[in-house]
Symmetry: C2
Subunit: 374 residues, 2 copies
């Protein structure tokens, strides 16, 4: 790092998370290389793209040539690929954290084994074991594929034992997890970061609102009905405990349900996370910059929240840009992606000195978004 020359950081995946990692990291003097099947992926605007499938060993080796550190922005990258990269170059987070997060059963067991409460669950391998799990865990419940699920895909609700065959068919007949249905007041997510030296920081937890299984909005601080300081503290403790247990380096997100009995952990993401996008404009140091700092072996930045903040996702299509840009205090982030139903195309951060003003901004942006969400 002499003379301010930064590192060449390799990122597996070139989606919007990779793009925003680079936008934060280039500012610190680093350069970025991405591995992605799409040459015009969102990150192609901010670095070199090795265009290949994630399981193309020769391309993975080219990706590794000359990089100083590696990370991933997509938790469904094959574990084998991350292990291959990690043999060549310092890779954060490590393959162990990715292995846990890629398997919903391993993830739930990890939470439970580290004192982080989860709902009742059972691993399911066929329709018969699903029927048995429904008997022990109870109905209603949710069947989810163990792997490769995101934004509500690969899931089916089981309301009564007669739904078993249909649910098993809907998740595709793949290894799955059956989880007790959780009656929750709110969804809370927390983002933490741990440096290579073991320094840990967390951002203020936020309340998430989903729409059709896709995150629609995050609001910080988490002052929604039914969410108290005890939940916020418990969430921060959980992410610290999880990062320590995994010897984790980088940003980790955990999503919780807030219930009458306290927090119930839903899932974790071993990467920067959509519910942390507000930190770009609402915190002293954002999740993207601190992830890059951790991956590059640098000290972490202050994670203090500056002002009441919110994030609204742009999904499916983008409202008229000029209308968004004209909302006072709105900070627009677009990913350079073509519109498509259910696709995250960008987000708007709202930050104001006063939560009442922030809420008014959110209403204006959500009214614009309502016409374009698809």
């Amino acid at each position: 790092m002499a003379g301010g020359s930064g590192q060449l950081i390799g990122v597996l995946g070139g989606g919007q998370l990779g793009r925003m990692l680079a936008l934060a990291g280039i500012r610190l003097g680093h350069r970025f290389r991405f591995l992605d099947p799409d040459p015009s992926c969102p990150a192609s605007a901010v670095g070199e793209v090795v265009t290949a499938a994630f399981d193309d060993d020769a391309a993975v080796d080219r990706f590794c040539d000359g990089i100083d550190a590696a990370t991933f922005e997509f938790e469904n990258v094959p574990l084998r690929t991350v292990e291959r990269v990690a043999r060549r170059v310092r890779t954060s987070p490590g393959a162990q954290a990715l292995a846990v997060a890629q398997d919903r059963v391993a993830e739930k067991r990890f939470f439970r084994d580290h004192g982080i409460r989860v709902q009742a669950f059972e691993a399911v391998d066929d329709a018969a074991s699903l029927a048995a799990a429904c008997g022990r865990v109870g109905v209603p419940g949710v069947l989810k594929s163990r792997r490769m699920g995101y934004d509500g895909k690969g899931q089916a609700v089981v309301r009564s034992p007669v739904d078993v065959a249909e649910a098993w068919r809907r998740v595709g007949g793949v290894p799955a997890i059956y989880e007790a249905f959780v009656d929750f007041r709110a969804e809370l997510s927390v983002i933490g970061v741990r440096s290579a030296e073991g320094e840990v920081r967390t951002w203020a937890p936020g309340v998430n609102v989903h729409r059709g299984g896709i995150l629609a909005r995050t609001v910080v601080p988490a002052d929604a009905a039914g969410v108290g300081a005890e939940h916020v503290l418990a969430a921060e403790r959980a992410v610290r405990d999880a990062m320590s247990a995994l010897g984790y380096v980088g940003v980790l997100a955990i999503e919780f349900f807030v219930t009458d009995e306290g927090l119930v952990a839903n899932e974790m993401a071993p990467r920067v996370h959509n519910s942390g996008h507000w930190t770009q404009d609402g915190a002293v140091t954002c999740q993207f910059e601190n992830h890059v700092r951790a991956v590059a072996g640098q000290p972490l930045g202050c994670t203090d929240r500056r002002v009441p903040s919110a994030m609204v996702n742009l999904v499916g299509d983008v409202p008229p840009i000029d209308a968004l840009l004209a909302v006072p205090g709105a900070r627009l982030h677009l990913y350079g992606k073509a519109p498509r139903p259910g696709r995250k195309l960008g987000h708007v951060n709202l930050c104001a000195a006063d939560a009442v003003v922030r809420d008014a901004q959110v209403r204006v942006v959500e009214a614009l978004v309502a016409e374009s969400w698809r």
Copy 2:
């Protein structure tokens, strides 16, 4: 702009200003192309570079192919090049503003003709006219080349008539301006932006401190000794008047001397400016984003200052990165340039809710910088 697909914006010059324009503009969904003689210029991390001299017509034409809008980040780009680009594509600011800013005599006349006070000055074409100008304007004074000066280069002080020949030699015997020496309390700079629709916004003026002719520090708000609210208001009015008079589109900076008789305009820059870098972390919308918005024909963002702010330049060499990153609240911006005496390699923005805290941060960073500045 349907569906969030942005514009391809062409920038003449690929230095740190171009790099920071792109970092702000990519976030809004735009892409960038640069024309620069150096293929590994700072902006090469954030866009395509057409590698050529600025007067290479064929390369300028390739640069223009397919771009939606153009701007420049370097005011010494040949006027002819900007005119050539402007015949192909919407170019902001226009060639007229550039022509004024490239010629110190035209610039001073422009200020004077628009009610913005300047010191006594005369155009100088040879040693004899310099001697005559010294007689009419008085000594001490400063001789500056009319064109291509920056960071104190191409200047000579005339303390008495016997210095005339030496001064004329030192500025290289080129067309010049002789200006009365100004006894100033402080240097104040103001940044404004005007949209294609004529909407105007200004950022809070800052106090600049130079070191060896190079900007060392900007502090905002401008509460230095001898700078009052009347100076701040006059600076804001001047930049508004100048932008209106020029039909200007984009960011314009004007530097002033604060004297016993009020403000005296020193020079203007028809581009984003080093004294506005604090806006990246201290204002709701930074100068780079608003310049891109103006160039792209989009509405401007709020320019309110969020907190007491300061900017410290990293010149010649960079202090240990980890020490800079560890200063609480310090925001590091590096340009990816190799160290060299007198070269701007990056800057650090300091923002704190309290000016006392901000000042303490500045002292810590300046102590680190003092060891590396060269």
